[in-house]
Symmetry: C2
Subunit: 389 residues, 2 copies
């Protein structure tokens, strides 16, 4: 049954090749002191940085820069940003980049005025902020995490080697607006593009492979997956195809903005396995997910055969005639694997720098979720990591 | 290609069998003077009215009632409501009912402080309000129109026999919150339930059958249609099935809250034909749509064969092997007709009170849209109405 839930998402989205034109009007709604957050500097090469600085300048903003946010934003970097934003008395945070920059900006938004240690409060105790939250706006340059329209944030503690995500309940942590220009995603290397595509796909899987209920959310999820598979194959061959890249960008947003989790249970175990790998290797997020996915899904398939068979038929077009659910389900996963290999995703964790002697510590740091078709024990986690080597 | 667009929808939704519990907290955010809008009085029979009056009373509200809003809310009724709301100095409008009550409340929200004639301004000239807009909240008792999460309103002018809808751009016209309790829809007669189901389905069709682009919105639309067909067949046999009724209610909201129109063209010609019938006969909205649909879609099929073939395969599971697109497309429409007949929908306009001598005036009042696969001329409109007799 469709469980009880609340849906509220007030992020305003400007989508399209002209969407930056709306930044000026949005900035007018917020205070003068802006913290401009960005990543490794690619926005300086492709011109986006200059365009945005001009708009900030024309809007009369007083800007402090927090550059160099890394793909897995660290707690140390967060502490550095808190110091800058405090000294600048920031009224507004403008995130220009991909999911990491957006995640980081949201963590910053709830930490600048937080009197406790933000790592302990938000990522260990998973508490909500009680302090003033600085509003965040986003100019997205990579499709994948969905961070542009949700209240989630993932931070890595390099000392403890923990990469932990927190989806906040407080809707004020969602970006007030996000500017989505598919052209901005086109300068990404192929490796980053397909990594983002798999991140999107896996977000949908994490919400889909849970529960036995009949739920509209699962039908929407199937539509999103079909759209993504279709567009990914076009973009894989021709990354400059605007139609495919724009559909991928739009799918990413809806894959993780709470809609397809409405009224149902969710899994998120692939993300826990992937984040354990990410915390230890600093590998690209989407690739940590792809590298553990097939071993995980084949492991849990027997506990959710009906859903995996539905996935095979409704998403991959497997013809179920004359087959058992188990056969149909297995065929679906084979088609998924074939698609993943065609995109050139990383299919094992060895390639990401994991060796057999790391399996024990990887297993130890993996958080165990219980919303999937089988709650894993530590031995099963080790087994899945070994299968993924 | 996915066109440029803005997406912004801040209606907060409380969904589930306990959702009325959130009304008190929402009411606290608004002023003391509440205009309580409802329909023909069914909420007095099923106890919803008493529950809501208790909450309004406990919240210390000063309530003026605007009851008796009819299924096709009239301009005369709107003028009556404006007078009551003005005299009451209403700070807030609480709509308790189905789409008509919600549509009416939104029209009221932009009319109370409007200095011009609201019919001329909003429904003839399709202008946006410049006056103060009274905030609206909604407790939904019927699934269908999607009015609970959009800025649309349909009003009927009985003098001119015009039924006209306006989808406002100003997002402040969307309800601030909507309470969706599937149990509230269960006391509806079967005729109203299936009428609502077809209204939902047709909303999706109107947005789907337009454009040749590859667009994520169309894949989401297919997911929604499949979910709706599936749940409608369960609810048709067992209207008390909570799971089916809740999925139908949730699908209705997403079928018409702007999401699946993002970045694409849309049609809305079935609604124009249906509204012409509705304006002249006062028939139930969903039935006016079902009664003209098959003639319309069979008429435009040759101009959008590819999309109709996709509809047949992706929504109805038609096997396209060895068939022309035309054959596949035709099979899809036949399956749709079979489903409509199984639900017991009205399949011709004679049953709604239209006779051959009314065809000319029906044709004359029909607004012509140009987003579909074929822009109709007046002769084609007459032909479609005649086919629908």
């Amino acid at each position: 049954m469709l469980g009880n839930f609340k849906y509220s998402n007030h992020t305003k989205l400007y989508f399209g090749d002209n969407s930056l034109a709306y930044l000026h009007g949005e900035l007018e709604k917020y205070g003068k002191n802006v913290a401009l957050v960005y990543g490794g500097g690619s926005i300086k090469k492709n011109g986006i940085y200059d365009d945005i600085c001009k708009i900030l300048n024309d809007s009369g903003k007083n800007v402090a820069e927090i550059g160099g946010v890394m793909p897995n934003p660290t707690l140390a970097k967060l502490r550095e940003g808190i110091k800058i934003a405090r000294e600048h008395n920031a009224d507004f945070i403008l995130a220009v980049g991909g999911g990491s920059v957006c995640d980081y900006s949201k963590a910053l938004a709830v930490s600048v005025y937080c009197e406790e240690d933000p790592w302990e409060k938000y990522f260990i105790r998973f508490e909500e902020p009680e302090c003033k939250i600085i509003p965040v706006g986003c100019v997205l340059t990579m499709a994948g995490t969905g961070s542009e329209m949700n209240a989630g944030s993932v931070i890595t503690n390099q000392q403890t080697k923990q990469k932990i995500g927190h989806v906040f309940s407080d809707e004020h942590i969602m970006p007030r607006f996000s500017i989505l220009n598919p052209l901005y995603t086109m300068t990404l290397p192929h490796y980053q593009m397909v990594s983002g595509i798999y991140d999107i796909f896996n977000h949908i899987c994490e919400q889909y492979f849970s529960g036995e209920d009949d739920n509209t959310s699962d039908w929407i999820a199937e539509g999103l997956m079909r759209s993504l598979i279709h567009s990914s194959l076009i973009a894989n061959k021709n990354p400059q195809n605007y139609e495919a890249r724009s559909n991928i960008m739009w799918t990413a947003t809806w894959a993780l903005n709470t809609l397809i989790a409405c009224g149902k249970s969710t899994d998120w175990m692939v993300h826990m396995l992937g984040q354990a790998v990410g915390g230890m290797t600093n590998a690209t997020h989407g690739m940590t997910l792809s590298a553990v996915s097939m071993a995980y899904y084949r492991h849990i398939l027997p506990f959710g055969v009906k859903k995996f068979a539905r996935f095979a038929v409704n998403v991959w077009g497997v013809n179920p005639d004359g087959k058992t659910d188990m056969q149909t389900a297995g065929e679906g996963l084979s088609m998924m694997e074939k698609w993943m290999r065609e995109l050139g995703l990383v299919m094992n964790i060895s390639e990401l720098g994991v060796s057999e002697d790391m399996l024990k510590s990887l297993t130890d740091v993996t958080l165990i979720m219980d919303g999937g078709y089988k709650k894993l024990d530590r031995d099963e986690i080790t087994e899945i990591f070994r299968e993924s080597l």
